[in-house]
């Protein structure tokens, strides 16, 4: 008889497909066969469709609304306006930033495409017909969409609803269009450092208004069951639990009678964090009609009304010694928040974590001041694939370092290395109050410069410049470097909440008697592959193969409470909760194993998937055996069952970092900028699934390409949004997208249970400055210090022309 030898330790580890395994995704079977379940796929009996009448004006008074013709369209059930919502006190809703936003325009409109009326009909065609027939009489008002003019003495009053409220959510408002002044750091000391500096540089750097533009737009289905009083709301929500709580507070429906479900989500990138008028109107319409109501925005509505990002007008000043040691950083931002302050930031941080602006550098003193202003633009200000305002901060400091390098005639890599926070300085206290958990910047930069052969690139560029001046080529080569530090994973709760909801996260694990498991989390995947990667964390912690673990998120009736997925917080916070819940299970399993093996708990040690007696590994109980015993064997002093829940409040945030290099060739006669090389080294601490990390980096870099090279939501002077469809808003195709080289170092987070830091947003944060620095670098020897994004062909050509380089 053949006796099979028991699997080796290595085989047992491999079978788990735990941490470090490039496990294939469990999500893919349904997505590749068209059986995903996105919100617009939901179909309920009797379901109605909602559609918005929107303002054609940027700023206008509503004189009258005539619904009659619209209501006469066959199939139209109702037309809601602010007047209908007022008795319910739902014509305004609270924003995440402590402001209020009109659900349906109350007496006036403040941005083009603002929601004015909500048509409810039996099908989407009837709704669209009726939208055209709602007659709204407007009186145009003067428009402000230049943030620099918003605070002029004679600037028209935009927010009549709060005109007497001069104390805002974040302190006093100094003008009727002012939202807040938020300051951090030592202003006086920094100004002194600037005054005493051997070298000082100053630059005005704008990060244009862009949009996250996930391929699936925002939408929901609201269904009020009048018999049992329960509201179910399916929607594209990055934070379903927060939506439930906010919905309960707004509507007064008890929270246990609200079920919020995020089904499959077709990309979020920050767009799906906020609460939008479409959700409120759908809920109201379902309550009024007693039928399910679906609302899904189209692409133009998406780009013009839900959640823009950036629109930061930044000024940076750096003080330095003549040999390039930075002695101070002063920054000011004029933040254009649009018509309502609907930024998605933790409550205490109206400019998010912008004060990570000292970046990867040991800067002894710094100051940040941010003035938020209202304009006649769409509300939002979300973190488009970045932690709150971190990409703005990284863009500013990484551009400013290059500006300083030009001034000092120093190599930008050398200048960065000279000012890096050193490995031995971690945990590092930044001048603006953060405690960086871990980092090894010198090693990362060294690895990156070697990988791209930086000296050879600079030598090639020197030759290119000579050849250009001789007329042998019309291309200029640019080399961009960025070394970013992110700050992700909000909480801790003591610092971070949204509308009072603490930013912890959660995981609940139940082991089934036969040794498989289900884990539920308070987060929600939008493409990141949580069902794959979080099962890997569980697998490594409790020794059950990942393929035997079901992972669920997004249903508030079943998942434990959590604050959702954005700001790269899932792995740092919910990932930590997952590990901690796993450890609780393991602790109980150890007691069960001790009973079964008739030894003291302390005599046992954990080994991959089992507890074994120290020094006698033959005597062991696998987690599978322990699971069965936990349910089916009466163990004195222990409750039956094997499950645990962990609510994890992180002690600190995590600080992923990376070194990016980008090489471009700019055709000065056309402005066409070809990305020849893009190298990205990321350090996200412990790596859970390298395949998924690499995919995240590819995607984030492509969003960085989109932003740096073309995306912009701009407005003309009378308030029209220019180019807000995919005809004009730049999403790169496979043709313009370069092939990326990815690389990594591993510096674990010391406070995270498995040392992971989060990665999804790093490539956007680091990619934008790397690209922008490359374009600026191409013209540096011709005297260019800074040119504004986006670096589309037209703007790049204009720069070349201004410098006298065009043919």
């Amino acid at each position: 008889m053949n006796v099979q030898s028991p699997p080796s330790r290595e085989e047992r580890i491999k079978k788990l497909q735990g941490l470090g395994s490039s496990r294939k995704r469990v999500e893919d079977a349904r997505f590749t066969q068209g059986t995903g379940n996105y919100v617009d796929d939901i179909k309920l009996p009797g379901m109605l469709f909602g559609d918005f009448v929107r303002s054609p004006y940027g700023h206008a008074r509503i004189k009258s609304i005539d619904k009659e013709a619209a209501l006469a369209v066959p199939g139209v059930i109702a037309v809601l306006t602010a007047e209908d919502l007022k008795p319910l006190n739902l014509h305004y809703m609270p924003t995440l930033a402590g402001d209020v936003q009109a659900v349906l325009a109350d007496e006036k409109v403040l941005f083009q495409n603002q929601e004015v009326a909500f048509v409810v009909a039996q099908d989407r065609y009837a709704a669209a017909d009726a939208v055209e027939l709602v007659e709204v009489d407007y009186e145009e008002l003067p428009v402000i969409n230049d943030a620099f003019k918003a605070l002029d003495d004679d600037a028209p009053l935009l927010r009549e609803d709060i005109k007497d409220k001069m104390e805002g959510a974040h302190g006093p408002r100094k003008h009727h269009n002012h939202i807040f002044l938020w300051e951090e750091g030592d202003k006086e000391g920094t100004e002194q450092a600037l005054n005493n500096a051997e070298v000082m540089v100053e630059e005005k750097i704008t990060y244009q208004r862009v949009h996250p533009c996930p391929l699936e737009t925002c939408g929901c289905v609201a269904s009020m069951d009048k018999i049992n009083g329960k509201l179910t709301l399916w929607g594209t929500f990055q934070a379903p639990h927060a939506v439930r709580t906010v919905a309960s507070l707004i509507t007064n429906i008890p929270e246990h009678n609200i079920r919020v479900v995020s089904p499959d989500i077709g990309g979020g990138f920050g767009n799906k964090v906020g609460v939008y008028p479409g959700y409120i109107c759908s809920v109201v319409a379902s309550i009024v009609t007693g039928k399910p109501v679906k609302w899904v925005e189209d692409r133009i509505e998406n780009l013009t009304s839900t959640a823009f990002a950036r629109d930061y007008h930044m000024t940076g000043k750096i003080a330095a010694t003549a040999d390039g040691k930075i002695t101070g950083l002063w920054t000011h931002v004029l933040a254009d928040h649009g018509a309502f302050d609907a930024c998605a930031d933790p409550t205490k941080f109206p400019a998010g974590f912008f004060h990570i602006v000292t970046g990867s550098y040991d800067i002894p003193i710094a100051y940040v001041g941010v003035d938020g202003v209202y304009t006649n633009k769409a509300p939002g200000g979300v973190a488009y694939r970045c932690s709150f305002r971190v990409t703005e901060a990284a863009y500013l400091i990484e551009r400013m370092i290059d500006v300083l390098a030009r001034k000092l005639d120093m190599d930008p890599v050398e200048l960065r290395i000279k000012n890096f926070i050193k490995k031995e300085q971690f945990p590092y206290q930044s001048a603006l109050g953060w405690e960086y958990d871990s980092g090894d910047y010198h090693t990362a930069m060294d690895q990156a410069t070697k990988a791209v052969d930086y000296p050879a690139l600079r030598a090639e560029q020197a030759e290119n410049r000579v050849a250009f001046d001789r007329g042998e080529t019309r291309n200029l080569m640019g080399i961009g470097v960025a070394f970013f530090t992110e700050i992700v994973g909000a909480g801790p709760v003591k610092n971070c909440d949204i509308l009072g909801l603490g930013m912890f996260d959660s995981c609940e694990i139940r082991i089934h008697p036969t040794g498989s498991a289900i884990a539920r989390l308070g987060t929600i995947s939008q493409g990141q592959g949580h069902a794959t990667t979080f099962a890997q964390i569980v697998a490594s912690e409790i020794g059950i193969p990942a393929e035997d673990i079901t992972l669920e998120e997004g249903d508030t009736d079943t998942a434990p409470y959590g604050l959702g997925t954005y700001g790269s917080r899932s792995t740092p916070v919910a990932g930590a909760a997952t590990a901690m819940a796993g450890r609780k299970i393991r602790a109980k399993a150890q007691m069960i194993a001790a009973y079964l093996l008739e030894v003291h708990e302390g005599d046992l040690e954990w080994d991959v998937d089992r507890f074994q007696i120290k020094g006698n590994p033959e005597a062991h109980k696998t987690m599978k055996e322990i699971a069965f015993a936990s349910y089916n064997q009466a163990i004195p002093g222990l409750e039956p069952g094997l499950e645990a829940v962990s609510y994890y409040d992180p002690p600190n945030m995590t600080y992923p970092f990376g070194a990016y290099f980008c090489v471009v060739d700019v055709d000065v006669d056309t402005g066409v900028t070809d990305i020849r090389k893009f190298y990205a080294l990321d350090d996200c601490g412990t790596r859970i699934n390298p395949m998924i990390i690499e995919g995240q980096v590819h995607g984030g870099l492509t969003e960085a390409v989109a932003i740096a090279m073309g995306q912009e939501i701009s407005y003309d002077e009378i308030g029209n949004v220019k180019g807000a469809s995919l005809m004009d808003f730049y999403l790169p195709t496979a043709v313009e997208t370069p092939t990326y080289e990815t690389d990594f170092t591993v510096t674990p987070s010391p406070h995270h249970p498995i040392g992971a830091k989060g990665v999804g947003e790093s490539p956007n944060v680091g990619g934008v400055p790397a690209l922008s620095n490359a374009v600026n670098d191409a013209f540096a020897h011709k005297g260019l210090v800074h040119t504004q994004m986006p670096h589309d062909h037209w703007r790049v050509w204009q720069t070349a022309q201004r410098l006298g380089l065009t043919g």
Binding site: D28, E216, I265, G699, L701, S725, L726, M727
Partner: protein
């Protein structure tokens, strides 16, 4: 306007239906036929999430009236896998090479790749990039999509050689 009668073959099955003549094909497929694999991403024929195969051509079904598809032979993502339920080589290659993330563009992307590999069974990387340039993806940066289609091309060529 009164409804029109339409007749077409969808994923090998003949169907007859009545439809409002202004119904877009994507709405007909998703809402009348319950084939929700193809998605709506832009309404302006730019994103390709709604791509289906009509009479041997990749078509963006958000820009076709249902009447225009009358009499045609349509394949959607739901009809790509083999009748026995096993995945088509392209679907398998997307899974093996991490060619998708949120999955929203994936049905259109795979349906386009399915046609591309019939038009050109052994495309170069550049030919693939141009070949899928009518389909936008916001998650993957295309790198692994290109890799997936290359892998599927190799797999299908091997299979053909074996037959």
């Amino acid at each position: 306007m009164s409804d029109i009668d339409v007749k077409m073959t969808i994923n090998g099955q003949e169907i007859e239906a009545k439809a409002d003549p202004r119904t877009l094909l994507i709405h007909f497929l998703r809402e009348d036929q319950n084939l929700t694999g193809a998605h709506i991403g832009c309404d302006t024929s730019h994103c390709g999430a709604c791509t289906v195969d009509i009479d041997g051509k990749s078509v963006k079904s958000c820009t076709v009236f249902v009447g225009q598809a009358n009499g045609s032979d349509i394949t959607t993502i739901e009809g790509i896998a083999h009748p026995d339920g096993t995945l088509h080589a392209i679907q398998e290659a997307f899974r093996q090479n991490h060619g998708l993330q949120c999955g929203f563009c994936t049905p259109g992307m795979i349906t386009r790749a399915y046609r591309l590999l019939q038009e050109n069974p052994t495309p170069t990387e550049t030919e693939i990039r141009y070949g899928i340039s009518g389909n936008l993806c916001r998650c993957t940066g295309y790198q692994n999509i290109v890799k997936s289609i290359m892998a599927a091309s190799r797999e299908l060529s091997l299979k053909e050689a074996a037959e």
